[in-house]
Every structure is written in C-alpha cells, then in structure tokens.
C-alpha cells in the first residue's frame, strides 16, 4: 500500500498542529517519524486513521483520496494504528482473545453469535506468531505492561494489513521485546506492508527505518533516506539547532552512604537485595520486564511491603510501612505511570507542584498562603525550566515533557535525601530529556542519592555512576566504570532468562 499525505492541515481552535504536511510511504517501506513532544506526530496518526478529520489537504491511499468517517472505515482498508497511550486502546477487563478480536470482522458475514472457541484458537495462533505464550483467556488488565503492548501489537497485526502505524511502541518494552517487535516489523516489511514508525529513540529509528521524516511545529523539517542522514542531523531538525551533549552527566558522588538496604525481599517480587547508595550518586538499575526493580522502588516508597530485610537512611534504621513513613525519611518517588499516579490533570501546575509540600505554605486555620506557595513554585519552576503559560494553567495543558518536569519539581521541593525514579523520561522528547538529566545533576550536586530505573539503555548507561542489573528478583551484577556499557547490562539482564 502506498500512503501519500498531501498538504495535510489540522488545528484545534487557534492551535494549528499540522501546518501542511506532505510525505509518502511506499509499499514495504518503513518510514520513521520523529519530532519533539507536541510536534504533531500523534495527531497525524489520528488523521490517517480517521479518528480526526484534517481541516484541509488529502490522505491518498494508492493514489485514491480517502474520506474516512471513522476508524472503522480505515481499518476496513487495511490501515491499523497502535496508538501512543497504548493502554488507552486496550480493554482491561476483557480477555486477551477478546481484545484481539473485539470487532471480529468475520462475524458479520457468518453467524450472529460469536464463536468463543474459534476466537481463542485464532488469538493463540496470532500470539504464537509473535513469539508470545500467554493464556489468551486472562483479562488484559492482569498482564504486565509489556505483555499488554504485545497484545496491542497482536491486535493490529492479526488481519490483512496494508499500512501499520506504530506510535512509540517500545516506550513500554524492554530490549528483548523490542527486538521481537522489530522482527515482526521486518516480516511485515517483507510482506509489502507500509509502516510508519514513531519513536523518540534514535537508535531504533536508525536500526529500522528506510527513511526518516522529522516533524517540527507541524511541518516536515527533514525527509531523507536513513543512509543519507545521521543522528545529529535528525536532532538538529527536531529542535531547530544542534544539540551537542545529550547526556550532560556530572559526577557529584560523595562517600557517605545515604540509603543502605540489606537482605530486602518482597513476596515474590525480589529477594536478598543488598544495596548502598551514596550521596550525590546515581545508581542505575537495569533488567528486563518483571525483574523486580519497579517493585523494589515501590517498596522503598512504602507502596509495597517488604517481607524481610532492613533499610537504613543516613545510617538510621527506618520502617517503611506507608508513604508517610517514606516522606518522613525524605524519600521521593517519581512514578513511571504519569497519567495514573502522577498528574492531577485538572489542577493547576502550581497546585500539582506544591501538593507534597502544601503543609509548608499553610498558616493559621489551615489557610494556604498563596504568595508563599507561588514564590516557592515559581522558583523551582524556573530552576527546572518548566514551561507553562502561567503557574495557574491546568496541568493538562502542558506537554508531556513539561508535565514530567513539573512532577520533578514537586519532589525537588520536598528536599529529598533519596530520589527514586522509574522511567523518568518515558515518552519525553530529546530536548526535555536533556533538561531532565540536568535536573538530576542539580540534585546530585546537592547530595541527593538517586536511584534510576530505565529501560532506555543509552540513558541508563550514560546517567548512572554505577549500575546494578536485576534478574528474577535478584541482583546479578554490579557494573561501574568501563564495565558499565549497554552490552554488559543487556547480557546480565538476559542470561538465563527464558
């Protein structure tokens, strides 16, 4: 299938998001679509799928202008989309099989009633094709994030396809699963399926794509075959100027141990964890999905129970039975799930930032002293370069990267001793990522001990002073200095895993 976008424009009110986008995807071609947060990538996706109507311009399929009224019409033409917030496209209470066959296109030609057996069989076959082995009768909500993403992919690829659009599909996947996905993409490419691949990870883009299209402020800033361009050019096209240092890591490590963990375990998530994190140090944790690193962070923040072991903060043993305990120890936790656990989307940016420290700004009769609150928030916002029209606008009006920085700001305000970060840059564009790394530097300069969990290996390697690798709930390696590179993290994470 040949997809051609012809001067596609789309605005939401005064906000013109797409301002004349033109490019083409040929049969069997993989086109990578890159661009900053808010550049319009996802909007373009929705235009192609019929979820949004363009204000002007055309989407041509094999030379034929299409006027899709809704996603169903696009799907009938063999266009499938894996949307960015993929979990929004799954039905947590339906089974895997039902998720894959929610529309069950054959039904309307056959019997009225749905055949469950056939559905289950087909779903199993589809997943087997993806190298996945899960019980298709389980509700999708009970699966891990990565498995959910794979179900989503299975859902999209289970039919005859002409065009597949993937909007940041690897944000939730680890290396191994990403590679599995790439194999699928190769297979589809070989079958002549056109593919649009959206990602903020340059390494992937260069690994996969035949051509790279960069969107900037709703216009095509770069459209070149992969062979004829390089990462620096792509980044320059994205942000408008050259970025020389992605990972501006500074070393601030001191000797005093802030967080000491001995023999920690939590039911079946992790066991026998011994860890020391020093002041000013960034300790990275690598591992594949389900290795227990997220659970460890959650336990340290009082969100899950330790079933054994001791934790010391600044040499004092502490008991972490709940969030208030963790906060008392000045432990901060940046959640990996911004939408569900981080944002109060309807509250102002300011209210979000002051949420964990509100008691500092309340005076007599619990009244909030707005001036004090505003100046504290203003300070931290400018320090962390949170860009918002004003501190009073709702959090939902910020771009993803700025939302993430605002959540950082919330925890920075608490003056943490220990900062636990789980996937702090997931879905964040290159520019904002770099700013987040600067924030990490600022914190370590103040002597904060940072624990960083990230599935983005280049990031993990570049930002950590030291990294451990976890596998099946245990620490299997500790890597420092020269030994800390992507290859060794990957090897330790995967060796022995099924």
């Amino acid at each position: 299938m040949r997809l051609r976008l012809q001067d596609v424009r789309k605005s939401f009110g005064e906000n013109s998001v797409l301002r004349g986008v033109t490019f083409e995807v040929g049969p069997g071609e993989v086109v990578a679509l890159a661009g900053e947060n808010g550049a319009g990538k996802s909007t373009l996706t929705r235009v192609i799928s019929g979820a949004h109507r363009p204000d002007s311009g055309q989407v041509l399929i094999d030379g034929e202008p299409m006027t899709f009224k809704d996603p169903q019409a696009a799907m009938a033409r063999g266009i499938e989309v894996i949307y960015q917030e993929f979990r929004q496209n799954l039905f947590p209470h339906l089974t895997v099989a039902e998720n894959i066959h929610v529309l069950d296109r054959e039904r309307r030609f056959g019997r009225l009633l749905v055949s469950r057996k056939r559905m289950v069989r087909q779903a199993q076959a589809v997943l087997a094709g993806l190298g996945m082995d899960i019980d298709v009768r389980r509700p999708v909500g009970s699966l891990g994030v990565a498995e959910q993403q794979m179900v989503e992919i299975a859902k999209a690829t289970s039919h005859d396809l002409g065009l597949l659009i993937l909007d940041e599909p690897t944000a939730a996947l680890d290396e191994r699963e990403s590679q599995q996905l790439f194999q699928q993409i190769e297979r589809l490419r070989a079958e002549g399926v056109s593919i649009v691949y959206i990602s903020h990870r340059l390494d992937e883009i260069f690994q996969l794509a035949d051509r790279i299209v960069v969107l900037r402020d709703g216009q095509v800033a770069l459209n070149a075959p992969t062979a004829e361009t390089g990462p620096a050019q792509v980044v320059a096209a994205m942000v408008g100027n050259a970025v020389d240092d992605f990972y501006p890591k500074e070393r601030n490590q001191r000797d005093d141990v802030v967080l000491r963990i001995r023999g920690a375990a939590a039911s079946n998530a992790f066991h026998g964890i011994d860890l020391d994190v020093r002041a000013g140090e960034v300790l990275g944790i690598g591992g594949v999905v389900g290795c227990g690193r997220s659970a460890l962070l959650r336990a340290l923040f009082g969100l899950e129970r330790f079933t054994a072991g001791t934790v010391e903060v600044d040499g004092r043993p502490v008991r972490l039975r709940g969030i208030p305990d963790a906060l008392r120890q000045r432990i901060a936790y940046l959640t990996p799930d911004r939408g569900a656990e981080g944002l109060c989307a309807g509250l102002s940016v300011e209210a979000n930032i002051s949420l964990a420290t509100l008691r500092r700004y309340t005076g007599r009769a619990d009244l909030v002293r707005r001036a004090k609150e505003r100046s504290a928030c203003g300070d931290v916002m400018s320090r962390l370069r949170v860009r918002a029209a004003s501190p009073g606008v709702p959090m939902s009006s910020l771009s993803g990267g700025n939302q993430q920085k605002a959540l950082f700001a919330k925890w920075v305000l608490t003056g943490p001793r220990v900062l636990l970060m789980d996937e702090p840059t997931r879905g964040v564009d290159v520019g904002a990522k770099t700013e987040i790394y600067r924030i990490i530097n600022q914190l370590t300069a103040d002597g904060v001990a940072v624990v960083l969990v990230s599935s983005d290996l280049p990031e993990l390697v570049a930002m950590s002073d030291r990294a451990i690798v976890m596998r099946q709930g245990r620490v299997v390696a500790e890597l420092t200095g020269d030994r800390l590179d992507e290859q060794s993290v990957l090897e330790h994470a995967l060796v022995g895993a099924a």
Binding site: A51, D104, V114, R116, G290, R305, F306, G309
Partner: protein, 364 residues
Amino acid sequence: MIPNRSTLASAARQLRAVWMLLLVGVILSIASPVFLTSGNLLNVGLATAVVALLAIGQTYVIILAEIDLSVGATLGFSSVVTALVLRDHGLIPALAAGLGVGAAVGLVNGLLVTRTRMPSFIATLAMMSILAGMTLQLTSGNPVAITDYDFQGIGQAYLAGIPVPVWIMVVGYGLFGVLLGRTGFGRFVYATGDNQEAARLSGIRTHRVKILAFMISGLLAALGGFILTARLSTAEPTAGTGLELEAIAAVIIGGTSLAGGRGRLIGTLVGALVLGVIDNGMNLLDVSPFLQSVVKGLVILLAVFLDRNVDMLRALVTWRGPSAPSGTSATGGDLHADRPDPVPAPAPEAAQKPAGVSTVRPTP
C-alpha cells in the same frame, strides 16, 4: 456465558451473589417452614419479575458506565399509555404503543447522554421528573382500569404451572443474556464500558451502542409496566416510583461494577432474587415493618461487602497461586490507569493503613 473472565475466576464471581442468595435462603428455610414451598418460591419469582426486568436494561447501561434513573418513571408512563391505548384501540396497538414509548424514552436518554454529553445521572434524573409529571397530566392523576382479559393474562395467567411474568423474566434473561454474552453487540457493550475511547478507535460506534442500551432499558421498563399493569388490572400513575433504585441495587449486588466494563446478567438476576427473597422472608417472619428497611439495607451492605471481599481473596489467590504465570503480572494500580476502581492490589490498601505491624524485620 460471559466472555470476559477466565472460567475459574468467572465461576467465583458468579458464585458470590449466589452464595449470598443461598445464605439468605438457608436461613429463611430454617426460620420459616413456608419459605421453601413451591408456591412461595413462585411468589418470590412473581414479586421479583418486574424489578428483574428493569435490572436487565440497567445492567447494560451500568456496564457502559452510565446509569438510568428514569426506568421507574418510564414504567409508569408507558403503563398509562398502554392502558389508554388498550381502552380505545385494543391489545396489539396497546402493546406497540407501550413498547414504543419505552424505546422512545430510551432514545431520548441515549441522545442526551451521547450528544450533549450530560452525565447520565442528571439527564435521567430530569427525565424521571418529566415523565412523572407527564404521567399525571395524561391521567389527571387517576388510575386507568384494565378490563382486557388477554392483557390481564400477561400478569395473571399460568403456563405449565408457572406464572407468565416468571416466564417472561426467564425468557428475558435468556435472550438478553445471550445478547450480552455471546454476540458482537454484547462485546461492544463491554468494550465501550471498559474503555470508550479505545472502543471508538477500534471502530466501534460507541454512541450507537449507548443509545441502544438506553433503548433496551426503556423497552424493558415498558415490558415491566405490562406485567405490573396486568397483575394489578390497572395502570397507576405512580407505579414504578422508586423501582429504579431497586433495580440498580440488584445490578450492583449481582457484581456489576458502576465503573463499567464488568458484569454479568446472571449476577443481576441473582441480585434481584436476593432482594426479592429478603422482602419475602421478612414478610414470612413478620419482621416489624419499620425494621424491614433496616434489615434490607444491612443485607445490601453485607452482599456488596462480601462481593468485595471475595474479590480480595480471589486477587490474592490469583497473585500467589501457581496458575498465575510468574514474572508477568504487575500491581493493579499500574494496569488500570483508566479505571478508578481497579481490580484490587492488596499492597497499596495496606500501605494506607495508619498503623500496622512493621514488615521490615531486622535481620537476625
């Protein structure tokens, strides 16, 4: 019968309301010798039929994460219309008019909810008020007598020893159970209730699904109205008042979540029977009328509480049990981002408790 559960978990879910029903049933059959007689059980069925029918539509609507507070008033309004048409034009036009009115009310509800994006709570509440007034206006507040023998049969006749309303209830549950559990439309109902945006992006016409569900609710209210009217041989303008809350209670006791996406029709039937059995039992045991509403409230609390507790137990079993593939599941909180009321993850709950035994034990 319903596709969204693994068989074991689904059996457990289904059993919960049944357990409650059995519990109440056993207590009553010990306490009253009359309870278990076939005559009395048929009474329970007869008394439950109308609420049970309303609860069918309500189940559809609640699985869609909406609510329909207008069913009681719809029942009253369509009853009166049916009776008036019956008086002047005969049986078939009357049935058609009654069902037509029910469907029309549902259509309006559905349009209000989908097109104007009013919360269904307030849209159907306003509709309830409007319909109640229209019913009174239509009849000047007087009941409309029913003399048509055939129509009375809908409420009073027996078929194979079983009252016709009970048959209607059984057939209704069979039909709408299959529709919900086995057809594409049913799938769309679950999908839309579970995640409307995803459903839309998957190509489901979610507005249409919602409108249809409200129409089913209106239709079944009209059907309930036939039964009530036929049983009473009169259409009372105030008939149906308050039945919406009974129906909603039945749905929730039956295990359907107000957050949408989850629920089974068989559970609703059991929920309606629980309520019917309680009423019946309190009458048999001659519980003081003042205390009856206290007992009923307590039983509802207990039923829903047990439902939630079995949920917790089940969650624990699922997490710990050998049936759960290891290394794949995560906490409920992580996975139900779009759901205010996720499958429970025990840990966060526990973490919230102000005081608790320290779980970080010093190493020996």
